[in-house]
């Protein structure tokens, strides 16, 4: 009786503005607001900015990052990190190309490539689980190895000359007049909606929040954390392979140079989107907004003709600013 009253009183006291919304809502909302304001200001100066062709380019250009960010979000929710995506991405672009050039039918080549991405992900998880090293180190090792492997299997030269039907995944699309709405956008949209929905509502996928929030208690709840992480890293690897296949199709070529610093761009986007590197927090919606935000900054640079030398400075500063925002919100609620 006594405590119930005290509790109610406490809840009433806590029900300030900040408490009424979840942290996630606030962070995602703030980011969405920032995107809108930014877009309006750029639009006022460059009327072409919000034209459909330009918006299309913004999306298409960061499609690989967006797809990889889906997996990275879940990895980060489980308090992990996956640097190897920047190796898997060119690796799968090369592999799918080599397999097709070897005469395999397109669907077979794609399936084998997706499987290869999943296997690399499984290796990441295996090293991290089995040898109890932080995934940062395990995936870093795999990233270095893959960068080397990519050079070796291509001999340093590009792979190209893919069969015609392959273009459907990254180049072909619906003609919208001024531009082509690529099918790959739908692939991304489908994957994003699917992972977003599952992560929110599916019993198994939600376990990632438990694992990231308190690994020990996840174990106590009978979750096989190690096995779950294998799933998560395989997912991340597979999504990186999807992105690699799309980019190979988009450029009708594959090259070991693809994906330089891609891991950092993806992590930046996911973190700007509100995911917590300590695990337990993050959302697909937030991450996608994060990718959009970065895509807009890059595009605004191309638009404005400001020396692109400033690009790195601005992206870095935005990252820090968004973190400060997140911290400020958290502290205000605490």
């Amino acid at each position: 009786m006594q405590d119930a009253q005290a509790l109610r009183a406490k809840q009433a006291a806590d029900a300030g503005l900040l408490r009424r919304f979840s942290l996630e809502t606030l962070q995602v909302g703030g980011l969405a607001l920032a995107i809108v304001v930014f877009a309006i200001i750029v639009q006022l100066n460059f009327p072409v900015f919000l034209s459909l062709p330009n918006i299309n380019v913004m999306f298409v250009n960061f499609l690989p990052e967006a797809i990889i960010a889906l997996g990275m979000t879940i990895v980060i929710i489980t308090a992990g990190i996956d640097l190897s995506v920047a190796g898997i991405y060119p690796f799968s672009a090369i592999v799918v190309g080599l397999l097709m050039l070897a005469g395999l039918p397109i669907p077979v080549a794609i399936l084998l490539t997706l499987a290869a991405g999943a296997v690399v992900g499984a290796v990441n998880a295996f090293i991290s689980n089995k040898f109890r090293v932080h995934p940062f180190i395990a995936t870093l090792a795999i990233l270095l190895i893959l960068r080397g492997v990519n050079i070796i299997i291509t001999g340093g030269s590009p792979v190209s000359g893919f069969p015609e039907g392959f273009a459907i995944f990254g180049q072909a699309g619906i003609d919208m007049g001024g531009f082509t709405l690529r099918y790959s956008v739908f692939i991304w949209l489908g994957l994003a909606l699917l992972t977003g929905y599952l992560l929110r509502h599916h019993r198994f996928w939600r376990l990632s929040y438990f694992i990231g929030g308190n690994r020990r208690s996840a174990r106590m709840s009978g979750i096989n954390v190690e096995r779950y992480l294998v799933f998560v890293y395989m997912l991340s690897g597979t999504l990186a392979a999807v992105a690699g296949i799309i980019v190979a199709s988009q450029f009708n070529a594959a090259n070991n140079s693809y994906g330089q610093n891609l891991e950092l761009r993806v992590i930046t986007a996911v973190v700007i989107g509100g995911a917590d590197l300590n695990g337990g927090a993050g959302s697909i919606l937030g991450s996608m907004l994060g990718v959009l935000f970065i895509a807009m900054i890059y595009n605004a640079f191309a638009m404005s003709g400001i020396s692109t030398y400033w690009q790195d400075v601005v992206v870095g500063a935005m990252l820090l600013a968004s973190i400060l925002l997140g911290e400020a919100l958290k502290r205000r609620r605490a």
Partner: protein, 325 residues
Amino acid sequence: MKSVSRYLIVIVLLAAMVAGSVPSLAQDVETYGMVVFLKGSEFFNWAYAGMVDAAARIGDHIEVQLLGPAEWDASLEAREIEQLTARGVDGILATAGDAETMNASIDGAIAAGIPVVLFDSDAPGSDRLAFAGTNNYNAGCSAGQAVAEWHGDAARVGISTFPGPDHLGKRVAGFEDCLAAAAPGAEVVQIVNDEGRVDGAETAITAMLQANPTINVIFASHGNPGPGAAAAVRNLGIVGEIDIMAFDFGLPVLELIESGEIRATVGQNPYLMGYMGMLLAYGARHETGVTAGTGFGPYASLVDTGVQILGPDDIDPFKNPPTFE
């Protein structure tokens, strides 16, 4: 909610910065973009200077801008071309970090009616209108011939390069072929990976020279290993015993040529690449009625900007590279 507003202030400042640099949107302004595969390189700055000067010659209604990824990633470069296409610029000068990767984006720009001229490295499989640049095989060849002249059959060469970029492969192949042709007794002893870095070149070349004391020539296949090779030779205290053939004329290379530590460098003509590129693109934008696209008319399809082997007497014109902003 104070923190949110603080966040917004940052955004507004950023946007204001973008907005502040807006060019006047007068009707007759034409915008041309240059896309390079490694932004922030002295070499491409020369090319951009050529573009800027050519644009100024055409008239002050021409605006130019430089874009490109900070790291060597051909797919990022293709993205920049797509962004310029979406923006609807009047012409694009691009250099192909990887020819195959660039084809689709270049074709997309051409399809959108934007003339695309390649410079420095070509994408011959694309619909690009023209190429102005060095024939990399020939550039390597010139270096090979020069080395053959220096040492004849006695030449024992170590090469510093890094795996990946297409044009480096061509330079090395040209070097090897022409050296073999001009001096059949000469030999390429070892090729090392400098990871594209100056300090990487120093470490790798130092080790190479010790493993192979017979080496008397080092060929640097790109701009960075030249100074690294000089440092390596200095390390071993054999300055003067090893001839270094560098590539390009970055200021450190020039300095080392003056001091005698580098014997010569393969000088390309990036300024002309940018200058010609601009003229070619402008020519394509404003066709004259003379049939174009066949290599005859206001723009040619291939312009070889050539190379020259630069020794101590040839380097003065390169000592004051252009600056921007």
